[in-house]
Symmetry: C2
Subunit: 276 residues, 2 copies
Amino acid sequence: MLDKIKSARAGLRKSEQKVADAVIEDPDACVQSSIQSLAQRALVSEPTVIRFCRALGCVGFQQFKLRLAQDLASRDAFFYQDVTAEDSSRDLAGKLLDGAIASLVQIRNQLNHEALELAIELYENCDRVELYGSGGSAVVAQDAQLKFFRLGKPAIAYSDPHIQHAAAALLDRSALIIAISHSGRSRDILRTVEIARGMRAKVISVTATKSPLAEQSDVCLSVDILEDSDVFSPVKSRLGQMVVLDILAVGVAVRGGEQMLEQLARARRAIDFKFL
Amino acid sequence: MLDKIKSARAGLRKSEQKVADAVIEDPDACVQSSIQSLAQRALVSEPTVIRFCRALGCVGFQQFKLRLAQDLASRDAFFYQDVTAEDSSRDLAGKLLDGAIASLVQIRNQLNHEALELAIELYENCDRVELYGSGGSAVVAQDAQLKFFRLGKPAIAYSDPHIQHAAAALLDRSALIIAISHSGRSRDILRTVEIARGMRAKVISVTATKSPLAEQSDVCLSVDILEDSDVFSPVKSRLGQMVVLDILAVGVAVRGGEQMLEQLARARRAIDFKFL
DNA sequence: ACCGCAAGGTAGTTATATTACTTAAATATG
DNA sequence: CATATTTAAGTAATATAACTACCTTGCGGT
């Protein structure tokens, strides 16, 4: 809804734009106020507010307020809370799940679509894929390998840094590597990427924005999750990384058109019965 | 809010309970209707509706409606949609993320807290943990191993079914196994669990409710995610499994009290700089 | 300069929420 | 057991908010 207002703004009349600005400036206040106070704040008349609502496809001010309220609610429904020693297992489950959900919501709001497009193109122009991740990120790399190797090009994941170095030294310009790291500051992964780039391989990173790793890659799919408070390893960024890689893989598959999707679905069914 | 109404219902007066029932019966209709229509539907007078709102801590009907609307919005903000070949990469990312988020929300709403308590107890009473998962679930098992081996007892994950069989045959009553499977119907995992139970080991399963695997385990942490439409492997249930296992591990840690949490946090920081 | 049309405001109407008051019911008390 | 007292719930009145119809202003075209 808020996005809708922003994109519709240009097509509105002058006074209605004032209303739009007032709403955008403080949407929370807006849902609680009446037509009058909103009109005052926007320095327009009340009917103008109504016309503004109609322009956005609502029958009236009430409906507009309702929709906006729902929009705001879904924006920050799941907020992160620290786990404490006093928590019951019930509290704890709720907090951890809310935190995980919040992190995915954050990714949804921040995902760089241009980068995604570029990443898809890099895959399409490569001959083979290698996935590098260590520690917790090794799990993500392995998961992604399962997806990518079904897309028709060889895909392999390495978790040992030394093997990563060796593998990177054997790459060429037709290779694509996907480097996964939470912080984007691990020495090992940076060295690996350096070697790979030396061999003219393309690099997609799945890591934190503006980290050294992000800087050194052709495309960075950002996963910026604060994990100060995670008791263990950064589960949340791992979830985010997995989903982002899933999006990349599905994005590639969708470029292949309906028949590729169909083929993949069949492959999946075949595996399902046997393995899971 | 809806839960609040349900729990507050008993403490309300008779006619206010009628209102509560009307709201619970059709909350969606409620947010769109006026005081009048709601009063009619509940067969009470309009002031009674207001008194009901006040009893719930709202200043008036409007605020009540707003809060209810926001509650409903956050309930099903992220609904699942099929990916089609016509989707842009932007559409696709949104759909996949919404689906992933929706699946976590579902887990939050359905998580069995008694089972979680029992699972924590099983861990506390065991001497060592083995994690079994094949295919996609191998990734989850490996991820969970990283968490559990920091809790002070040996933890190991096996992904090869034959090795799982062999390992299970070497267990005893002090061992705990965590069996991970999307469907809970894989022959291999069922056979492994059968062997393990024969050796009197305890079994926690992370799988679909009422599946054969769930039936054969001491405790089942349910992860019921429909994945008919996932193009690839079941990412969503994998996310769910990972989060559920994280909850279990953190639950165990929290039982260890403040100092255990502190110790784990320190361990995490030490690893962070080196590995991620 | 005049006409026409669109934008935006004024004033009035209707609907809606809220208050004050009254009646009915239930419980306590002599 | 009848009467007082408190509480619950409805009626009627009022204030307020939302919406409609209409009117004025300003702009672009002939």
